[in-house]
């Protein structure tokens, strides 16, 4: 390596090393794996949302040529596997025993020589159901006398799951008592779904000779899954190896443990052959971890144009089992970040969760543990307050932003925001948009009968869980690790506890090592996903990889650099204090010709070390974040509405993000654009709905609408950089910022087009029909 060659570390848009296999069609997704003797598992799913099972007859299915086994809840119960613990301290049915509790719930599993045959057999299983009332809203669930969904749980006499609150009720009540105006908003964040393009699945291979279970599994958190498998299945943990291979997207969908994993593993254990479970899209949408489904009521107390108090009541629809992954101390995730970007002295957040006859879940789809819901509420509330007080929505926000000098900022619900400059991001977004010009154009257009809307959202995210004492899932502290080993010839292997589903870790984490140790990224191989070969961690979701494992990578690199300095001193016959580190080499101060590269030092670590020093050049570091990180930004959207059809089209979408230091700007922008698209989709079209019988509408891609390139707007991106003061690299995490911030920006834009006529709210998804109804009511329809 030439002395002057720049190290492509932090800040470089290094092209991705993982592309090489994907563009050749040589990815290694779980369904690409075939093992000798492998069998296939297909589920029989319940057609009813709520029904007692009176009988299951599997005899016709078992008789099909090529069927090896048909498993029911009754059979699993004999092995204590019919129910499993969830990540939120509840239990979940693996296969239904007494009742089915949501449409699509797994009732039986056929294991056969091919998936086609398994499906033939599934059609031949006869189940007698006695339908019960399907509870399709949390409000009905909590009514006196409503049927108890979880009647199998001892002591469960209703459909209530949890109560949880944050903030200070008294201080908030006082603020409201003294307010000169109160603004309210009732809004529903509808049920949607992360729907990664690759569905869930696994190949479970329990070796009958060695007793070792190797499970190739769509898992965003392989180590946590391994530990839970050990506890649930009673298999010794060292005999379980979970390999999360290439993942075709995750977005939180691949965090929970699903019945398919358990059934496939149990089947493999009992039969002695590998068993593959490939979920189909219907199974994915109807039964796996959905997102959102929060009924929210928010109130702002205003005094002299400033927000003095925030009151929130939230009712969560969790489906039939409380199966979310979220920090145990927070039943509603990090929803209490709901004060957002604003300096609100008093806040009180009251949350409640209920069971319904729907699929379990809620924490998913790039939500940062419910920050999506919180951010949506506050940004819609603030927008409403602006209209109600006759203040421009941008001005209203700026008047209430937390100011740069207030950081670190202790919020009214207990968060300590690390750093931020909200006005700077806002100003940049407005400048890129040409805000003032657009407001003039909006007014002129209105005179011509054209409806243009300008919506902004200024979000603050909280990611990087987290400090072990505060953040654990199922008791497992949310610390993540990095293990780095430098080989004699100066190449390295970095093993991570996190797991990319497309975020480009193989490239970006190598860049961190490059930055710290002066190796080029292509000299660092990054490995993830194999629990036998990587350090322990809680995985990738909630934008935590860079804040936690990224920090661990920097720290372990620095440890190695510290040892390298000793070796360098030995090689250069200088004292450690006389050495400077620059551009990947240690240089003797004042004698630039006397230097050693990290590659020289690596070789020496195995061939020529000081007497008494341990050999090798490696380390492992588990990082315990001192705090969360707080990315933020402003998104600004311009829409135009067709007054005849209610269709709204996005004319501009400007997104300014501040995620602190950007390791790979190209990848950061990719994450943002993906998130903006999902945020747009949620605002415009994504919806999982239920009719009064609990039938799920939205269980396939005909009904669950994902935008194509044709509907998706073009994005104009900008950045400000406010480093995190506590992260070793100053980086904050960014994967979910756009899904957090975008929906409100789009909804605010559509509302803004109609606000002059008194329209204040439109519920997501903002369909053309809803806009039309608003146009009608406001006498603006064509």
């Amino acid at each position: 390596m030439a002395a002057t060659e720049e190290i492509r570390g932090v800040g470089h848009s290094v092209k991705r090393v993982e592309d090489a296999r994907f563009i050749r069609g040589k990815g290694n997704y779980f369904d690409d794996i075939t093992l000798p003797g492998m069998l296939h598992l297909e589920f029989l799913r319940s057609p009813y949302a709520h029904a007692r099972i009176s009988s299951i007859d599997t005899s016709r299915a078992e008789a099909v040529d090529g069927v090896v086994a048909v498993v029911t809840g009754e059979l699993l119960a004999q092995h204590n596997l019919a129910w499993m613990p969830t990540l939120s301290g509840d239990t979940q049915a693996v296969l239904a025993t007494d009742k089915v509790r949501f449409q699509g719930q797994e009732v039986a599993a056929v294991i056969a020589e091919s998936a086609y045959i398994a499906k033939d057999a599934v059609e031949l299983i006869d189940v007698d159901y006695e339908p019960l009332e399907a509870i399709t809203t949390p409000q009905r669930a909590l009514e006196e006398g409503a049927p108890v969904i979880r009647d199998e749980k001892e002591g469960q006499t209703d459909n209530h799951i949890y109560d949880w609150e944050a903030g200070d009720k008294e201080a908030t009540d006082r603020a409201f008592a003294e307010a000169d105006k109160v603004v309210e908003l009732d809004t529903f964040y509808p049920r949607c779904h992360p729907a990664p393009l690759e569905c869930c699945g696994c190949v479970a291979d329990v070796n009958p000779a060695t007793g070792k279970a190797t499970i190739y599994m769509t898992s965003q958190a392989p180590h946590a899954h391994r530990t839970l498998f050990a506890i649930v299945a009673g298999l010794p943990e060292h005999k379980i190896r979970i390999i999360s291979p290439d993942l075709g997207g995750g977005f939180g969908n691949k965090v929970p443990i699903y019945p398919g994993y358990v059934c496939a593993t149990a089947a493999s254990l009992l039969i002695g052959r590998p068993v593959k479970w490939v979920e189909d899209r219907t199974g994915n949408l109807i039964s796996t971890g959905f997102a959102r489904d929060y009924h929210m009521h928010g109130e702002l107390a205003l005094k002299g144009g400033r927000i003095t108090g925030l009151r929130v009541k939230m009712l969560s629809d969790n489906g039939a089992f409380f199966s979310d992954a979220q920090p145990t101390k927070c039943k509603a995730g990090l929803f209490h970040i709901v004060t957002g970007s604003y300096d609100i002295p008093a806040a009180h957040v009251v949350t409640e969760g209920a069971y319904t006859n729907k699929a379990p879940g809620g924490v998913a789809y790039r939500c940062s543990f419910r920050v999506t819901e919180a951010s949506y509420l506050i940004e819609r509330l603030v927008q409403t307050a602006a209209y109600e007080t006759g203040v421009d929505p941008v001005e209203f926000r700026k008047q209430n932003f937390i100011k740069p000098e207030q950081f670190p900022y202790k919020s009214a619900t207990g968060f300590t925001y690390d750093s931020g400059d909200y006005a700077a991001a806002m100003d940049l977004a407005l400048e890129k948009l040409g805000y003032d010009e657009l407001r003039r154009e909006q007014e002129e257009a209105r005179a011509e009968g054209k409806l243009i809307g300008i919506g902004v959202a200024s979000f603050t995210e909280v990611v990087g869980a987290g400090h072990g004492a505060d953040y654990d899932i199922a008791g497992l502290r949310m610390n993540d690790g990095a293990e780095l080993r430098i080989h004699p010839t100066g190449k390295a292997v970095l093993k991570l506890s996190v797991k990319s589903q497309g975020q480009g870790h193989e490239t970006t984490f190598a860049q961190i090592v490059a930055e710290e140790l002066g190796l080029q990224p292509e000299d660092v191989e990054v490995q993830e996903g194999d629990t036998d070969n990587t350090p322990y961690g809680l995985g990738t979701y909630a934008s935590r990889s860079t804040p936690v494992s990224g920090a661990a990578t920097a720290m372990v690199s620095r440890r190695i650099r510290a040892k390298a300095q000793k070796i360098a001193a030995h090689l250069l016959e200088a004292s450690e204090d006389d050495l400077e580190w620059e551009n990947g080499r240690f240089v003797v101060k004042g004698a630039p010709e006397k230097s050693k590269t990290i590659a020289d030092i690596a070789f020496a670590a195995y061939t020529n070390i000081p007497e008494g020093m341990e050999g090798g050049l490696e380390g492992v570091y588990y990082y315990d974040p001192p705090n969360m990180t707080y990315p933020f930004g402003t998104y600004a959207v311009v829409v135009e509405i067709d007054r005849g059809t209610g269709v709204w089209k996005v004319r501009r979408c400007v997104a300014v993000d501040d995620c602190g230091v950007r390791i790979n700007p190209m990848i950061v922008e990719g994450q943002i654009m993906g998130g903006l698209t999902e945020g747009f989709a949620i605002a415009a079209m994504e919806l999982i709905d239920f009719d009064e019988d609990g039938n799920c509408i939205g269980a396939n891609f005909v009904d669950y609408l994902i935008p194509t390139a044709w509907e998706t707007p073009t994005f104009e991106l900008g950045e400000t950089v406010t480093p995190s003061p506590h992260h070793p690299l100053g980086a904050k995490g960014v994967g979910e910022s756009a899904t957090v911030g975008a929906p409100a920006a789009f909804v605010n834009a559509v509302v803004d087009a109609l606000a002059h006529a008194g329209v204040r709210n439109l519920e997501m998804p903002v369909t053309s029909g809803k806009v039309w109804a608003a146009l009608q009511e406001a006498n603006l329809a064509e």
Binding site: K119, D120, E123, G646, M685, L705, E711, G769, A773
Partner: protein, 288 residues
């Protein structure tokens, strides 16, 4: 995701295909594009005992003007229609419908005639071809017959085709020297079915409307002709008043249902708006 078993036949001629259909009674289905049938089979909503794949039969894939008709053969794909110059201009209702069917990849395989035989009430071709006054050419061992599209669509996914019949072409009558039309489709995204679709096809007689065809998608148990609207326009001059009046009549003719795509009132209103816009566009293109 995994269809049930079936027997597969790929005959080389229409006669062979008919003979196979006769053998199976009503247990066999014709496979042309398969973009409606195969998805149903994968979900096991359809499990025919046999498929008769007609894709190898020669002579069914042309678009040609023939004897006062524009004839679109059974193996003409949606994509062929999208690219065909023969459909431009006077047959604008067809040219505008073609690119809005499903998505661009499905359009490479799906066929116009297959779409008619499938009779999805949210199918776009049904309305475009109803508005154009089309008829279906159908063969069986008993000979050839034509079925006006009005008589073809009986109900949702139900046609008057017999199990031993194969539709070989759809024929659209020549609309005369001055004609124009369009198809407006409100869809939530590319590939979605129509929330509302309105097909307009006008023939002009000097300055007035000769024949008016207006048909609606997604607002009834099958593709519907807005007959009172058509009658109001026949022989009339096309101006703001007659356009608005026809649009109101078309809206009244709709039988929409409230569902996830929108309320019945909403859909009815879109019928009115689209009929108006469609008539204006038809007038423009005919004048050009």
């Amino acid at each position: 995701m995994y269809p049930a078993r079936f027997e597969y036949h790929a005959p080389a001629s229409v006669d062979d295909a008919l003979e196979i259909l006769e053998r199976y009674g009503d247990e066999a289905k014709v496979l042309a594009g398969g973009q409606s049938l195969i998805p149903l089979m994968k979900l096991r909503f359809a499990s025919p005992q046999a498929l008769v794949d007609i894709n190898r039969i020669q002579g069914l894939d042309s678009i040609q003007e023939d004897d006062g008709f524009l004839s679109i053969g059974a193996l003409v794909r949606h994509k062929d229609c999208e690219r065909s110059e023969a459909l431009q201009g006077r047959f604008g209702v067809l040219a505008d419908a073609a690119p809005q069917i499903s998505d661009p990849i499905v359009r490479n395989r799906g066929t116009v005639v297959g779409s008619l035989a499938h009779a999805d009430p949210q199918g776009d071709w049904g309305s475009a071809l109803l508005a154009a006054g089309a008829q279906l050419e159908v063969v069986s061992s008993g000979g050839t017959r034509t079925i006006p599209l009005d008589e073809l669509f009986v109900g949702p996914f139900t046609t008057s085709l017999q199990p031993n019949e194969i539709a070989t072409a759809v024929q659209i009558p020549d609309p005369g020297a001055r004609a124009g039309g369009t198809y407006l489709k409100l869809e939530r995204k590319v590939g979605d079915y129509a929330t509302v679709g309105v097909a307009v096809h006008l023939s002009f007689d000097n300055g007035t409307v000769g024949r008016a065809g207006i048909a609606l998608t997604g607002v009834g148990p099958r593709n519907l002709r807005a007959e009172t609207a058509e009658a109001a326009l026949a022989g009339a001059e096309l101006n703001d008043d007659t356009i608005k009046a026809a649009a109101e009549l078309a809206a009244e003719a709709a039988q929409p249902r409230s569902d996830e795509r929108g309320s019945a009132d909403y859909k009815r209103s879109v019928v009115r708006v689209f009929t108006e816009r469609g008539l204006r566009k038809a007038a423009e293109t005919a004048a050009a």
